[in-house]
Amino acid sequence: MNSQRDKTPLLRVDGLEKRFDLDRGILESLKFKNGKLAIETRAVHAVNTISFEVEKGDALCVVGESGCGKSTIARMIAGLLSPSGGAIHYDGARIDTLRGKALLPLRKKLQMIFQNPYASLNPRMTIAQTLAEPLRYHNPGQSKGELQDKAISVMKSVGVDPAWGARYPHELSGGQRQRIAIARALTVDPEFIVADEPISALDVSIQAQVLNLMLEMQETHGLTYLFITHDLSVVEHFGTKVIVLYLGSICEMADTRTLFEAPKHPYTKALLSAVPQLKENQRSHIRLQGEIPTPINLPSGCPFRTRCPIANTRCAQEKPQPLQQADGSVVACHAVEEERLGALNPA
């Protein structure tokens, strides 16, 4: 997008990990096994050693099915969850270890938009109050008039009538609320937006309105996006880069064009083939055996091998590492490495 792109990426994620402990304290971790008492703590392995980079001006989409850890990644980057391992660097500085007041300057640069605009707006605040709050918090010196002017200009930029300022969220429809949620994120002039399924709670015609707004804001404000979604058609339209996530691990990471034209990982292929198309004779989808295993007891080796039609013994023993392919995509799959994908035919 911009020619004088820095050498350091805007956001760098190294070996990010997140575990949620299920058993807290000694009493919960005491288990009765084979007639003996044993101490055992279980944990949900939500995100497992993930590394990626986001350049300025990118719209990086993270796709995957429910439970694959996409929202957890979003929340860790936005500083709402602290990682169990790994590091997150923003603009060269480490951000995952920041706490309290030290987070303030970062929050001004990095804002988040949530999935459900019914839950993310305070029902007891008017739209004007909602928009003024982050401004007031991040610019303590400004007068009321200045805050109001800023709120009005942001409302105009997202196509909202400033007269709405006196209304409460319940007076607005879902699409209008999501506009306000986007406006609230934009009030502090951020550089980076983490959007966690911002359009999945909305109807098709409203989805188009909100996506258009986000594309517009990207152009006018020079924003960088991390966009979490499960909808592949949105990814194809919106994203510049895509990460396909499965059970907390990256399957495939590529430029959007490359991923949709030449998907490599068996899971990516299955995912793409399962999207219902408008056109008539859609090729039948690749059937996956079973369903996503629980992230409590991860399968050994490749996380996808329990459902993969072409898994072999190596897949069960060794976790595939993300490897760079000839066309620039990064794929974690033994079958791709061994070039035995030919066995994968749609049913």
């Binding site: 188009a208 399962a274 198309q277 369903e291």
Partner: protein
């Protein structure tokens, strides 16, 4: 004779300021074994249609007029006893969220056997055998064990398979599926839709599929009905609705899908939002968002007329045909 014949169905909801109309003169037919899709955005009246067909509306909603002829009998006039006998037996419904549909304190087997025994004179053993056969039909692995499991022990996809098996228990003539895969992941959705299609085809079961996903409708149904603000605005063969939509709203809906626009470009959005039941505009309900609005649109509700292979409720459909060439969808 068609399996289901709905005539001028009107559903109202009582409110403090007087009744509001949720469904406005809906008429359609469904042949035996036919698969019909009902598409629309939230609030269009799709689910209300499904509930009304099963006579499941509860206060403050009520059927205000019209007929629902199912195998020649009017469901709207049936006694509560007859309705109970029909539901789950000849007409079954599949809901969106399988966790809410299944009773969490009963095993799968208990729930299936209960349904069977409520409608047929069967011993528990016989009912269990039938349940087992049905579970096998929907490709549930180790069905014997599943019968004794509780819903929380199963995954979402598995639960929805069980719901489909339960809907098929008494060999119904019609299944109404209200967003059956919306709560599921895309790979599971593809499996469930393929299963539903197979079950309907092999057992000659009629299907009414209520969804907001045009892709799903395109893959599963033969005929499609598009609803907007409590009315049918377009209906016809699924292929012609998808490939050559006539109503400006249907066109807008299809054109708004991200796959219809090259990456990076502005999506073709429909401005505004659907009017709520209380703020329904005069005339055509879509005129506030329509680019082709004419004078008649503001005062008169368009009637639904045949246009090509579809039925369309639009005053301006002829103009539309001349001015905006139908977009190539492929």
């Amino acid at each position: 004779m068609s399996l289901l014949s709905v005539r001028d169905l009107t559903v109202k909801f009582g409110s403090r300021t007087g009744p509001v109309t949720a469904l406005n003169g809906i008429s359609f037919d469904l042949a035996r074994g036919e698969r019909l899709g009902i598409v629309g955005e939230s609030g269009a009246g799709k689910s209300i249609t499904g509930f009304a067909l099963m006579n499941l509306l509860s206060k403050p909603g009520y059927i205000d007029g019209g007929q629902i002829l199912f195998e020649g009998e009017d469901v709207a006039q049936m006694s509560p006893r007859d309705v109970r006998a029909m539901r789950g037996d000849r007409m079954a419904m599949i809901f969106q969220d399988p966790m809410v549909t299944l009773n969490p304190v009963l095993t799968i087997g208990q729930q299936m056997i209960e349904t069977l025994k409520a409608h047929r004179k069967l011993s528990t053993q016989e009912a269990r055998q039938i349940a087992l056969v049905k579970l096998k039909e929907v490709y549930i692995p180790s069905p014997q064990d599943r019968l004794d499991q509780y819903p929380h022990e199963l995954s979402g996809g598995m639960r929805q398979r069980i719901i489909i098996a339960m809907a098929l228990l008494l060999d119904p003539k019609l299944i109404i599926a209200d967003e059956p895969t919306t709560a599921l992941d895309v790979t599971i959705q593809a499996d469930i839709m393929a299963l539903l299609l197979e079950m309907c085809q092999s057992n000659q079961v009629g299907l009414i599929l209520i969804t907001h996903d045009l892709g799903v409708v395109s893959q599963v149904t033969e005929r499609t009905m598009v609803m907007y603000a409590g009315r049918i605005i377009e209906s016809g063969p699924t292929r012609s609705i998808i490939n050559d939509p006539q109503h400006p709203y249907t066109q807008g809906l299809i054109n708004a899908l991200p796959q219809q626009t090259p990456p990076g470009q502005r999506l073709k959005q429909i401005p505004g939002t659907m009017p709520t039941l209380a703020t329904m505009p005069k005339g055509c309900p879509f005129h506030t968002r329509c680019a082709l609005v004419g004078e008649g649109c503001m005062t008169h509700v368009p009637s639904i007329n045949q246009f090509g292979s579809s039925f369309v409720a639009c005053h301006e459909v002829h103009r539309l045909q001349n001015e905006v060439p139908a977009e190539d969808v492929s």
